[in-house]
Symmetry: C2
Subunit: 159 residues, 2 copies
């Protein structure tokens, strides 16, 4: 079981307004609207990765993270190639402090979830799949590509 990527994503919700912090990602391959997050570093827990990524990308210190499950993609680049998996571990919190800032990673703004869902055309790839994970109804979203090397046909199952 090799070639597995581990990442995190955090939905930060303002306890007063109920709005969530949206990141407009500026980097090359995943431009668009998303929540902050990123790749785990060597020797790091998933929890600590989530806290660090939020701090680096937004300037905010988050506490009391609530785990919301995980999504993973599973695919082979060719019929005989080694399987790859890409994990996103989801967290949410309404406990944060600090001054919000924009970074090279992206620009940030607050939005209601309803208004965010009207902007699907601006989402980063797959972000639409992630949204249902934050309401606590699921623990796992599992996405496969039945035809190796073809990424237009995907099947997603929520558990």
């Amino acid at each position: 079981m090799n070639k597995i990527t581990l990442t995190t994503m955090v939905m930060i919700q303002c306890p007063e307004s109920g709005q969530v912090l949206v990141q407009n990602r500026l980097r090359s391959s995943f431009k668009g609207l998303s929540f902050p997050g990123g790749h785990v570093e060597p020797g790091e827990s998933l929890h600590d990765c989530a806290v660090r990524e939020v701090a680096e990308e937004t300037g905010l210190a988050v506490r009391d993270l609530q785990f919301c499950g995980f999504k993973h993609e599973c695919w082979c680049e060719t019929p005989n190639s080694e399987e790859r998996r890409y994990f996103v571990f989801f967290y949410k919190t309404d406990d944060f402090s600090g001054t919000l800032m924009d970074t090279d990673e992206g620009q940030h703004f607050w939005s209601s979830l309803d208004e965010l869902l009207l902007r699907k055309a601006e989402f980063t790839p797959f972000f639409e799949d992630y949204i249902p994970m934050f309401d606590g109804a699921h623990s796992e979203a599992f996405c496969t590509y039945p035809k190796p090397g073809e990424y237009d046909t995907r099947e997603i199952t929520y558990f």
Copy 2:
């Protein structure tokens, strides 16, 4: 991020007695008391891995699995070697059917959790770390070995 192993473990609880299903593992490297579970197969979700492993090892069909978080170990075999991680994704359920059987994997019996906790000397390695995950108070148990190649000193953090 390579060399990551994905496994599952299931605590099956009898809704009438409250007892849990214990597996006395007979196989070489991890002999002792544990719960059923095992390695994910290619193209398989973690949820389906948990269901399949229980069926193969115990004869029981489990439904309505509740996700209880994950544990992972993180270590390097030498100071400069690639990091490795070993994940266990935990589930519990009280919804099952079928006839309980013993297999090559292990023998099975029902026990109260209290009685099980009195038998720590018979546990498989690390099973003691897993038990707190099933009560829902944590989402992640993260275990590191500060000295590469030395497995006597370990640090475990619960989030």
